[in-house]
């Protein structure tokens, strides 16, 4: 089966007079229909740039994009603006983190949804209106018909995010990019929105690229995971493997940093020492090495993202042997990044 979305060796660089910043560096992954692929990482890891690049939103002077983004066989990196315009919102939809910034504050939400539908399909105002109501009902907005004439500020945060999802679905897309869709929402509302997304995936066979920093959210709904660090995928694996057998020390660090509610309270959280590198000052070799207590001589050379285990679907960028990793990541209470940083090599 060919993937719905196939990203291959994607590189995005922002260039100014003096420097070139590699925001995304050699990223490859794919999304199949009916599947949720999570892209996890911290600020500046390149996850949002990737999402925007798929939609052609990072194009511009001073931006170098190379590699391939195949959507249903069509390369979005080389596709013309007119082709992208036709796909955006219709075949590929996006839900942003902050719906208040994404929605027009002075237009009724009905107008905004109808506008989107009619931009892509030749249907009457009346039919588009009926479709808008249907979409709002679909995502659980009560009295959808009346709510069409409400303004964005008249909705709560959770309801606004539902409006965004309804709008994204209005043209029956095949791929949904959800960029931090539940960040900033309360946990109970987050659980509702995630359940909603999963229903849509199941019913419409939607492929979803979920961009998030929250491994808990990932555990709840994703099928596969791409862990990003400093513009690169450092680990790519099926969901369970990320939690049961994580291969990259950065993934261990992320897992160890999260306070858990399902285990006895720990005295201290295992942290990741230091801070992520600036894109202008990326270290040579393994980009995580300067923060990694387990680094050794070989880390001066950049490891490739490849499978080092029996499972061919599980790849990582770390030179340590799988046997060593099993020992090193064990904190006694779970998985984490342990040990002091050795003096600069």
């Amino acid at each position: 089966m060919s993937a719905l979305l196939n990203v291959e060796d994607l590189r995005v660089a922002f260039v100014n007079e003096k420097d070139s910043y590699r925001a995304v560096d050699g990223l490859s992954f794919d999304v199949n229909p009916g599947e949720i692929v999570a892209m996890v990482g911290e600020s500046g890891s390149g996850k949002s740039v990737t999402a925007m690049t798929i939609l052609g939103l990072t194009r511009g002077p001073g931006v170098g994009i190379s590699g391939r983004i195949l959507f249903d066989g069509l390369d979005l990196v080389t596709a013309g603006e007119a082709v992208l315009q036709r796909l955006r919102g219709a075949e590929i939809a996006i839900v942003f983190q902050d719906p208040l910034a994404a929605l027009n504050p002075v237009q009724r939400i009905g107008t905004q949804i109808i506008e989107q539908i009619r931009a892509h399909e030749r249907i009457s105002q009346k039919a588009a209106r009926a479709r808008a109501v249907e979409c709002l009902e679909r995502v659980g907005i009560p009295s959808a018909h009346e709510r069409l004439s409400a303004y964005p500020h008249e909705f709560s945060g959770g309801m606004r995010q539902r409006v965004m999802i309804a709008m994204a679905l209005s043209c029956s897309p095949r791929l949904l990019i959800a960029d931090e869709p539940t960040t900033g929402l309360d946990v109970t509302v987050q659980a509702q929105i995630l359940a909603e997304l999963d229903d849509l995936r199941a019913e419409m066979g939607l492929g979803v690229l979920l961009v998030t920093h929250d491994l808990g959210v990932v555990a709840d709904i994703a099928d596969r995971v791409v862990v990003m660090y400093a513009g690169r995928a450092v680990e790519r694996a099926p969901l369970d493997a990320v939690f049961d057998d994580p291969q990259h020390p950065y993934t261990w660090g992320l897992l160890g940093s999260i306070p858990r509610t399902d285990t006895p309270r720990l005295e201290r959280l295992a942290t990741i020492p230091g801070q992520p590198p600036l894109p202008s000052e990326l270290p040579k070799g393994c980009t995580f090495a300067p923060r990694c207590p387990h680094r050794f001589a070989r880390c001066a050379e950049a490891p490739l993202l490849e499978s080092r285990l029996a499972d061919a679907d599980h790849s990582d960028r770390c030179w340590l042997s799988p046997e060593d990793k099993r020992v090193l990541r064990n904190t006694g209470t779970g998985i984490g990044l342990l040990g002091e940083l050795a003096a600069t090599q």
Partner: protein
Amino acid sequence: MTEAPLLEVEHVVHHYTSASRLRPSRSRVTVHAVDDVSFSLARGETLGVVGESGCGKSTLARCLVRLLTPTSGTIRCEGVDITRMSARQLRPLRGDIQMVFQDPRSSLNPRRRIRDSVGAAVRVAGVEDVDARVSELLDVVGLDPRIGGRFPHEVSGGQRQRVGVARALGADPKLIVLDEPVSALDVSIQAQLINLLDDLQDAFGLSYIFVAHDLAVVRHVSRRIAVMYLGKLVEVAASDDLFAAPHHPYTSALIGAIPVPEARHGRSRRRRDVLAGEPPSPISPPSGCRFHPRCPRATAVCAREEPPLVDSGGGHLFACHHPLHLETAAKEVEAGHERV
């Protein structure tokens, strides 16, 4: 516990009123942000306050540091009633209770160097050698003292929040009220800051009130947790008890909604009991128990009578007509009978 508590909060109420300027004839709108909240805090203790947006937790935090004056009720710090003190009266006590805000970008003056922002707090504490003390404080929170010469926008979010903590420490406080101190930070940076707060508490014997929406973080830092819903405390208990045996259905729903970072192993993606709906408006809170419209256990009495906050034993307080622990206990008794 013979020692007097550091902070005593009794029946604190805070209402925001706003008159519509466009239609002055209309009656004023009152938002019941904090409604009859009482608790006390011992020296060196951390009390977590959790709840969803709009539950009044930030308003409560601001009342405690007296950025707001409560509508009614009493707040005592070391036995001194600070509820209605004027700014002048408060000044000598300001150093005792400090606050760390969620967004250090907006709580640090963007035109002041970090050294000067921290220095202002140090002067309040009456320290002679301000520069030396500032360098010491920056070092204590894990920053290179040379960072003092920079402006807030020149450092990362995690570093800015450390500056916020250094400034709070500068006034030599007994209590720090932390309002969502880590929610804007990346997880790895969040963990570093949480560990730092832990170390500072041990080193200086500080008390914390840790306000946050993230129950997992609150559980990690707090010995006791207070759960707020629409301005009311619905449950207060030791962290471990709260998680092991939540009494209030809302607490249980909050705990159940926390996504757990672990493998799914073929388990369904759907969470079991997703709490429906959203908190209603605090302008016109529901009658009786404010949670009843969303509560799976609600009966007629819940809409009629407001449940009082009562102790189920050992300081575990809850406000519910149909608490979960009684049912569990009843089941255990039943099971016991069957075995006999």
